[in-house]
Subunit: 352 residues, 3 copies
């Protein structure tokens, strides 16, 4: 059913985006058309990646999921960087981290918890993820912020580059750890191994074709989307920060949000948590550092420097999530707590 | 025995407070009389609430305890707000958080731990409380502080109001979770259900009468107490901050301190921890946001903005408590660690 | 084998240090000779302390280890303080904390984890240590930093003295807890008691003689070592901060680094963790506060005030370590995460 809606959205949205762009429709209308079309295309990219991952087997498949899982955000961000919107990129990645950690996980815990009194997920994965969240946000994001206070721009950029390389290497090492050296080592007992036998939705060729076409379409739309931000902001009285942190982040992650919540509702919390926190880690340890390195080829380079508000919002969200998820259990109230934190951040960024 | 002392203190203290106020005794003498009388009255209010809670059954009773448990602090704070002492109110609520988290829990762990080598409490409750502590202090108190750096006063106040409403709603949701949807779900095995059969100390009518009279008396004395702060501070060389953080907080919580320690000494750690951390949460998620909203009707409104010293003191205390309490066990050394942290904060606020 | 190398290094290094000092060799050469000689002497001091500890029995032995374990750092720091290098002392103690927490523990986890898939250590000790790390760094180091923002120098020093006394007292209480009241209470099952029967390497007299001679030699060399920092920094373009945080810290802890890794490789993770985290706590709760108190007798007193970069580096390292170690398990990836954090800090302090 959802798939049919996304198909409809795609086949209406893509032509509409092209026509609207060429005919210079109102930026507000274009903004809405672009956003909805990207959400639909993102779902196609997700399904294509999923199919390829199943065909490729668990190891290469895990790698594929881990690199293409946030391709939409990467594409939007590259075009925003090209347009010199460094602040918007950092804001949208902050929003992606907050959205996945607080909104996606929060909704999963809450909605799953309304149906099931106590839900459990793999406690070893939860702790592994906690360590990575701490590393990425508390170390890799906090250190440049504090050290940059006494550094000039060149040194700050050097530090950013160094940290970005380390983040990417550690992200790859984490994949190696999970997919190769410690595959199945931390399996919890109740975890079925049935999901290995999944059938891919599409054949290899079809999946690659869809992935390629959708990527090009997302790229085309993203390039124009980023130019609407200024006008949308002015019209609604939204700051660029709010657009980045809340709007872009929700558009870029809508598909993941949906599937995590569906999984929680089926009591498959391992998968729901994996989507929410795995996606956070992917943004923090892969998308963001890759963008820092890509930005070196553009006019305005992007150091790993968030605003204090963005940084503290991420730090406090990570600390909250680590404390809440560390026991491998969830309930509706824990979900509500995460959602309440998201609303507080939302109000904060709206007023900023 | 303690009850007799408090009775004596009440029947001497209340008339003395009235006479002293009318006859304009020295502010130092009045300050001492007021403080001791409020401590005694607070114990009456606590016992009356307890009786009503037993009569009303566990659900309504839990709600009663959760709303009237810190009534004394609420009353003192309202009169301090009315007198424009916004700084003193924030300081005394900070002090209440620090006092409950470090002093009450510290003394409970320490004194209980001297008698018993290892003491245990419900680890599920401990984790539930950890999540709430993180939410209240690390999210709800930290965010306005950091966002206010780039906001004007109006926006800061809007943010404070929004966060206060969310805090109160989440506090009510937490009660709903504990008393309705997940009542008994996280029971530990060794927990007896015997304490359900408790007899109320006073009948419903008597309890309501005592609660009403004590509340009026506390209100009358609080109104005059807050006006002595300035003179007491000058005389002893104490800053208003120190008076708020240490003195008012101890006066407002003396009764709870006593009963938590008694419970720890009886090895009823579940109750001791519930008093210490439950009381912290009540101040942070109910008393404080209610005061923010009430302050809107007074001349000087109170945004949710602590001084950096107050904020960091609370943040670091919460982090320490979460790490120490998360295993559901305590011993004398953990108690001493909390007490040492309290002494450090005390010295800091004294010197400030 | 290692012992033979250290013997050689000592018997060549000590005369060379004396001759070089008298003949005013190049500061760069002297710096290298001093550093290598101190590393060798530190290993003698460690072995002598170990022998004395075995002779003295577990209680007094534990006390000996806990007070003389970081004697080299204490000696270097005293001479640096005497030379007025307050900043270098704070930097080298920061480096010692970071080095033990991230480098030593990281290498132990990583190298041990390459040989063994999952390594375990006493989870009770890990939690006990987590509480102390939080207390020392998050409370005792953070509070003076934040309170000093609104304090004059005299008050900052008073606060530093107060906190130092509390740190030392709590450190002694922790020893009392571990060696007396709760000795063996939190023993894990698989822990053998065989290591009680260890034979001391040296007799009591020989150990005391070696300890005394090595201490004098370390003192002599340290006094001259601290005067080479300025020139070495200029030559290599290193800041005093980098020399303190990275170079001095590695020199002062080389012996511990080696033995922790050897223990991890033998799957004796309890000992490896004890060396890494125990040494961190000793620096933070004993060496540092003792130096604050000693500095009062020198021209330039040392308040407990780190730079913001040093403080945040320690705070984030402690939070990372607490989250990683709290489950009493390790693997190569957790080790790599700690090492990655150390490299990030290293780059940061190098560029600063």
């Amino acid at each position: 059913m959802t798939n049919k809606i996304f198909m409809l959205m795609t086949f209406i949205g893509v032509p509409l985006s092209i026509i609207g762009t060429l005919m210079h429709w109102s930026y507000i209308v274009l903004f809405i058309v672009y956003c909805l079309t990207i959400i639909a295309l993102a779902s196609y990219m997700g399904r294509a990646t999923e199919s390829l991952a199943i065909v490729a087997g668990p190891r290469i498949g895990g790698l594929l999921n881990a690199t293409f899982g946030n391709a939409v955000e990467l594409i939007i961000s590259i075009f925003a960087l090209k347009a010199g919107l460094v602040g918007v990129v950092l804001a949208s990645l902050t929003g992606s981290v907050l959205g996945n950690l607080l909104l996606v996980a929060g909704l999963s815990f809450f909605i799953g918890g309304i149906k099931f009194k106590r839900q459990q997920f793999n406690v070893y994965d939860a702790r592994h993820n906690s360590g990575l969240l701490m590393f990425a946000v508390i170390i890799a994001f906090v250190i440049p912020e504090v050290f940059a206070m006494n550094m000039n721009e060149t040194k700050t950029l050097s530090l950013s580059i160094g940290i970005s390389v380390i983040l990417i290497l550690l992200y790859l090492a984490a994949l190696f750890f999970k997919l190769v050296t410690h595959r199945g080592v931390y399996q919890s007992n109740n975890e079925s191994v049935v999901h290995e036998e999944e059938e891919p939705e599409w054949s290899k060729g079809k999946a690659i074709a869809i992935l390629a076409i959708a990527t090009v379409a997302v790229g085309y739309i993203s390039e124009h989307l980023v130019h609407t931000f200024e006008y949308v902001g002015e019209t609604f009285g939204w700051s660029e920060l709010f657009i980045g942190v809340i709007i872009v982040a929700i558009v870029g992650n809508a598909a993941e949000h949906a599937s995590a919540i569906v999984m929680a509702f089926k009591n498959k919390m391992d998968i729901a948590v994996e989507i929410a926190i795995g996606s956070t880690l992917q943004v923090a340890m892969f998308v963001l550092p890759v963008l820092v390195l890509i930005s070196l080829f553009f006019d305005s380079s992007m150091p790993l420097l968030f605003s204090w508000q963005e940084l503290i919002a991420m730090v406090s969200s990570v600390l909250l999530m680590v404390v809440i998820s560390n026991d491998g259990e969830s309930n509706w109230f824990e979900g509500l707590t995460l959602l309440a934190a998201y609303v507080i951040m939302g109000i904060g960024f709206y007023l900023l």
